[in-house]
């Protein structure tokens, strides 16, 4: 388990989300260190998306607290939203607007200074220059993912939330996207919370893995720590062990950090 003396980028205490009689997130306690890349894993319905949505402020918890970059997301989320961003291939950008128009709109919403130069720089970095004038709806899946990534980086966020950032991309493009995210994090010291079902991606990018099941974190370690403890060759086997086991391997009595 990692320990850090710096104030956490994300601090969650006793977070609960219920939909009627269904408990989607069940008393989560969690600290995420600044500058770290943390993967949130779990089967469908484990509570990953619900947790991320509450961190972003899209979803109100039933109870508990969430602090992001030192701000309470329930009472002062607008103080911190400009320092966060999100990327998911499942949430498309407006399709009729061109790449430049989309980035202009989102850049202005985030209050980015020197926006035109920022968009040009992003376009160069993400090899989007030739597509800037093209509607997003006319781009390939890989190009759309790069646009979505550009949008997520337009405000140079201190906290980046990624939901399956390379889903449905070919291995070459997926590798390219991962490399770019890694480079960005290394240069900016940004914190990343990554939800993914791609275990190779998690092993490569994450320094810490949180395993969720039935709304709780049931294990928390480095990728190598998990492999060693479960005696497995890769994270996919660890994932299957946890997903198919009714037993909680590591219960939470203290906030995991």
């Amino acid at each position: 388990m990692q320990k850090t003396s710096a104030a956490p980028a994300i601090r969650i205490r006793n977070l609960v989300k219920r939909y009627g009689s269904v408990t989607a997130v069940d008393g989560l306690d969690l600290d995420i260190a600044p500058g770290s890349v943390t993967a949130l894993l779990g089967g469908n319905g484990a509570g990953k998306t619900t947790t991320i949505a509450m961190i972003m402020g899209l979803l109100l918890p039933t109870s508990g607290s969430i602090e992001v970059l030192g701000h309470d997301m329930l009472t002062s989320r607008y103080r911190v939203l400009a320092r966060m961003n999100f990327e998911s291939p499942y949430v498309e950008m407006p399709l009729r607007l061109t790449v430049r128009q989309n980035l202009t709109v989102f850049g202005r919403l985030y209050g980015v200074a020197g926006l035109a130069a920022r968009i040009d720089a992003l376009a160069r970095e993400l090899e989007l220059s030739e597509f800037l004038g093209r509607p997003v709806g006319k781009l390939s899946a890989g190009q759309k993912t790069r646009v979505s990534l550009a949008k997520s980086l337009v405000n140079e966020p201190d906290l980046l939330l990624l939901d399956e950032p390379t889903a449905s991309l070919d291995p070459d493009t997926a590798d390219w996207v991962r490399s770019h995210i890694e480079r960005y994090c290394a240069e900016r010291g940004a914190t990343v919370l990554l939800a993914s079902h791609n275990m190779g991606e998690v092993e490569r990018m994450a320094s810490r893995v949180l395993m969720m099941k039935a709304g709780k974190i049931v294990d928390d370690d480095t990728p190598s720590g998990l492999l060693a403890r479960y005696g497995r060759q890769n994270l996919e086997e660890v994932f299957l062990d946890i997903a198919r086991s009714p037993v909680v391997r590591a219960s939470q009595t203290e906030p995991v950090a």
């Binding site: 202005r108 209050g111 980015v112």
Partner: protein, 274 residues
């Protein structure tokens, strides 16, 4: 450190409202059917009521037909109806594009989002309205702009009503999804018979007049008839309309806020769409 501004001042707020207006301006520019639709229906309505008025003028002797109360009514009704539609459709565009989740993760406040919807409501009405008023002058010799400053009072009140309805409908769609979309197209029509658009208040039965007088647009259409038929601007009617509009707008803003929070509790922002 992020390069984004965390300024909560007026200029940052205006910048975000401007960003949303720009987003919808881009959308209109990219889609000529959307622009055409803004002109098409107001033109059809105006021509139909205009020719009806011409026919009635030949059959009857009433001052009303000569003074253009039908065309005036249809044009002002269109400000109310298209204003609400402009507000609601701009909101629905975000639902159709499944973009609301993206927007709500940015520093855009609900109040700024609503302000951008108001600006787009005015913009969309203006795109359709200006050419139609020119056509009304050309075809029927009816000059709406001849109402002068009274028109400002009429427009202000009708826009306020249209935004109140649009805000309430948008809140319902936000909370209950696109299943509530049909309200965006139909709710305003509830006002059409009650607000005395084409006939004076005394036409209604007594009990319905009470209902009618509780609705702000009634005072606007009564005021329009006073201006066209008696050449009198009824400021008192406009003040009553403004007071009612202020109350209705406050109620709608409260309802929108509650429905927005309810949608955040229910996770509706994550499941935008059908």
């Amino acid at each position: 450190m992020s390069m984004a501004g965390t300024d909560t001042g007026l200029s940052a707020r205006m910048n975000r409202v401007g960003a949303m207006v720009l987003r919808h301006w881009y959308l209109l520019r990219h889609s000529w059917p959307r622009t055409l639709e803004l002109i098409y229906w107001p033109t059809v309505q105006m021509l139909m009521w205009g020719f009806l008025q011409v026919w009635l003028a030949g059959k009857t002797d009433t001052v009303a037909t000569a003074a253009g109360v039908f065309i005036g009514g249809v044009l002002l009704w269109d400000v109310l109806f298209r204003g609400q539609l402009g507000f609601s459709i701009t909101f629905l565009e975000e639902m159709w594009a499944r973009n609301l989740g993206h927007l709500m993760m940015t520093p855009l406040r609900p109040s700024e989002f609503v302000a951008s919807l108001m600006v787009m409501s005015v913009t969309r009405v203006a795109i359709g309205f200006v050419p139609v008023t020119i056509l009304a002058l050309w075809f029927f010799g009816f000059n709406l702009w001849g109402m002068g400053l009274a028109l400002v009072a009429f427009f202000a009140n009708l826009y306020l009503t249209s935004w109140s309805i649009g805000l309430f409908v948008s809140g319902l769609v936000l909370r209950y999804g696109l299943g509530a979309e049909s309200l965006a197209w139909s709710l305003s029509f509830l006002l059409l018979p009650l607000c005395c658009v084409y006939y004076p208040l005394e036409t209604l039965p007594g009990w319905l007049q009470i209902v009618s007088l509780s609705l702000a647009p009634t005072y606007v259409f009564e005021g329009m008839r006073a201006l066209l038929l008696e050449n009198v601007f009824r400021g008192d009617l406009m003040i009553r309309a403004l007071a009612l509009n202020a109350a209705y707008f406050a109620l709608s803003a409260y309802a929108f806020r509650r429905l927005f929070d309810a949608s955040r509790r229910a996770g509706a922002l994550l499941q935008m769409g059908e």
